[in-house]
């Protein structure tokens, strides 16, 4: 049974078609890569799935729950997590507080409990902090828990953002270019982190990425977009040699001139 189903989704912005008839099915504990040249619509696809831009047409379901038309916060509450191309950590919070905020939907705290600092609230806060620390340990960042989010390096911030998205135990995690700007070492770490997320936590990942080496290495299946359309889908080996994909990246003339790798 597929966890995330995207069927015939299309969206245009002011006359410019960003996505057209995109189909995608994400199974349980699967890592799906979404690649394509610039402007292909990859981030748009993520925005459509998580509700920031509702599609003009099509269906999206998460564990058979329809998502189209719901507010982004409602979609997140149904079990969809997300990171962003430009890391969006909360600048006013420490690393631990950032990750704890990820538990928002699962927190057992009422308004009155918060205002009067009830025993239940104190217990909930302590539990949230404990889970936050556990998540930081999972991603290997526990030593930074009291640092302000902005004090961390770029690569570290990206990992914290993943931890924050992961702590609420989403069914599906959307990662928007997690490897951008990272050194080779860091990319290897992100690779193994994604595997652990899939294997140890059973989370399905939809990975938008430009670093092809990472995509080929970690993904179970890959979808290729070009100009908003799906031009290929399959296992990494097949995508690597698919002529339509090569053409999309290199262009017609170069493709004709160069042999298939």
């Amino acid at each position: 049974m597929s966890r995330l189903v995207v069927r015939d989704v299309a969206i245009a912005f002011g006359g410019v078609v960003a996505l057209d008839a995109v189909d995608l099915e994400l199974g349980a504990a699967e890592i799906r890569g979404v690649i394509g040249p610039n402007g292909a619509g990859k981030t748009t696809l993520l925005n459509v799935i998580c509700g920031i831009n509702p599609p003009d047409r099509g269906e999206i379901t998460l564990d058979a729950v329809p998502l189209v038309g719901l507010k982004p916060s409602a979609i997140a509450a149904h079990g969809l997590g997300r990171t962003f191309q430009a890391t969006q950590l909360f600048r006013g919070m420490t690393v631990l507080e950032n990750v704890m905020t990820g538990l928002h939907g699962r927190l057992d705290e009422g308004v009155l409990g918060a205002v009067f600092r009830s025993r239940r609230l104190c217990a909930a806060e302590a539990q949230a902090a404990a889970r936050g620390r556990e998540m930081l340990a999972f991603v290997g960042m526990e030593q930074f828990e009291s640092r302000l989010a902005t004090e961390l390096s770029f690569g570290q911030q990206r990992v914290i953002e993943i931890a924050r998205a992961l702590i609420s135990e989403p069914r599906v995690l959307l990662l928007d270019e997690p490897a951008v700007g990272l050194s080779l070492n860091r990319i290897v770490e992100v690779d193994s982190l994604m595997r652990r997320i899939r294997d140890e936590r059973g989370v399905s990942i939809l990975l938008v990425e430009h670093v092809i080496r990472l995509v080929m290495d970690v993904c179970d299946r890959i979808t290729v977009l070009s100009h908003g359309r799906q031009i290929a889908e399959g296992r990494p080996e097949a995508i690597r040699t698919d002529p339509a994909v090569i053409e999309a990246y290199l262009g017609k003339d170069l493709h004709a001139a160069s042999p298939a790798p």
Binding site: S73, L89, F90, G92, T101, E125
Partner: protein, 319 residues
């Protein structure tokens, strides 16, 4: 020394001092202290909206006025006693604050500032022109409050002290909970907040209604302490004073607002001596504080004394 000046000690000391103040002070000092308590309530409430939730709204002075007018008018027009008018007025002000929140759901930044500014102007206009209800520019007298055998000024002081203590504690607790984190999340990145299942509309509404509630309480107390309600105290200048208290004290810091309110009330009284130069002096102090202490006075306290840490910091500097 640093440990001695820790928050627990200072708050306990201040609380004690405020409790025993009345018999030691003359009526004027008592009055100023009472005004300070009212402004602490205002500033702490405004900080929840401005500092924590990051909503740049100009409506608080108007809501302060609505609290005062509602408390007074319910007594004068409908003959209700203070002990019913006051809570009712707080409810009314909170509901109006919620209504103001509605545009906030669609607007941000300058546009929100302007809509709330327009609301404030409109409220002032109603206070001045809707004479049938609000008595117009001259204002109206409110029947003085009685506290049984207790002297009215004393009774009002202790009421203010009680409410101030409760509301500051409430804010402090709220900030240290998931709600506080949600508000800061809305401030720092709406899109990330939504991705974490934080309903923007809900938390903006919470922020607006909380600040309105605080403003309503402050307004009711204010009408009681003056025994008089008029449009003047609730205009744009009042809004500037409130913003100043929050920013000078320290945006995004509950204790900063307490400090800021206390200091600025003291400053206003001290400046009375300046006669003509009041405006200039206030302007210079304001500029000086902001330029030299951009993180507020509380940042000085945090540096020099221990135990003043708070979760969730002030809005970050723009880069």
């Amino acid at each position: 020394m640093r440990a001695l000046a820790g928050r627990r000690n200072v708050v306990a000391l201040a609380g004690l001092a405020l409790l025993v103040l009345p018999p030691l002070a003359n009526p004027y000092i008592l009055y100023v202290a009472n005004i300070a308590l009212i402004y602490v309530i205002l500033a702490v409430g405004l900080n929840l909206l401005l500092g924590y939730a990051g909503q740049f709204a100009f409506a608080n002075a108007a809501l302060f006025g609505i609290g005062a007018y509602a408390t007074g008018l319910l007594q004068v027009r409908l003959g209700l006693p203070f002990w019913i008018s006051f809570p009712a007025a707080v409810v009314i002000t909170t509901l109006i604050g919620l209504v103001v929140a509605l545009p906030a759901l669609r607007l941000s930044g300058l546009y929100l500032a302007l809509v709330t500014l327009a609301f404030a102007q409109f409220t002032q206009w109603l206070m001045l022109n809707w004479e049938r209800v609000t008595f117009g520019a001259g204002g109206f007298k409110v029947p003085p409050l009685t506290f049984g055998s207790l002297q009215p000024a004393l009774g009002l002081y202790y009421l203010s002290l009680l409410l101030c203590g409760l509301l500051v504690a409430g804010a402090w607790n709220t900030v240290r909970s998931g709600i506080g984190r949600a508000l800061v999340a809305v401030r720092d990145s709406e899109v990330a907040a939504e991705a974490l299942a934080i309903d923007l509309a809900r938390y903006k509404a919470i922020a607006f209604s909380l600040s309105a509630l605080y403003a309503g309480v402050a307004g009711g107390l204010y009408s009681a302490i003056l025994s008089f309600v008029a449009p003047e105290g609730f205009d744009l200048f009042q809004m500037v004073v409130q913003f100043s208290m929050v920013v000078v004290g320290g945006l995004g810091s509950v204790w900063g607002s307490v400090l800021g309110a206390g200091l600025l009330v003291g400053l206003q009284e001290a400046l009375r001596a300046f006669k003509g130069g009041q405006e200039i002096a206030f302007g210079l102090v304001l500029m000086g504080c902001i330029v030299f202490l951009p993180d507020g006075i509380i940042s000085l306290v945090k540096r020099r004394a221990r135990g003043w840490e708070e979760p969730l910091r002030a809005p970050d500097r723009r880069t």
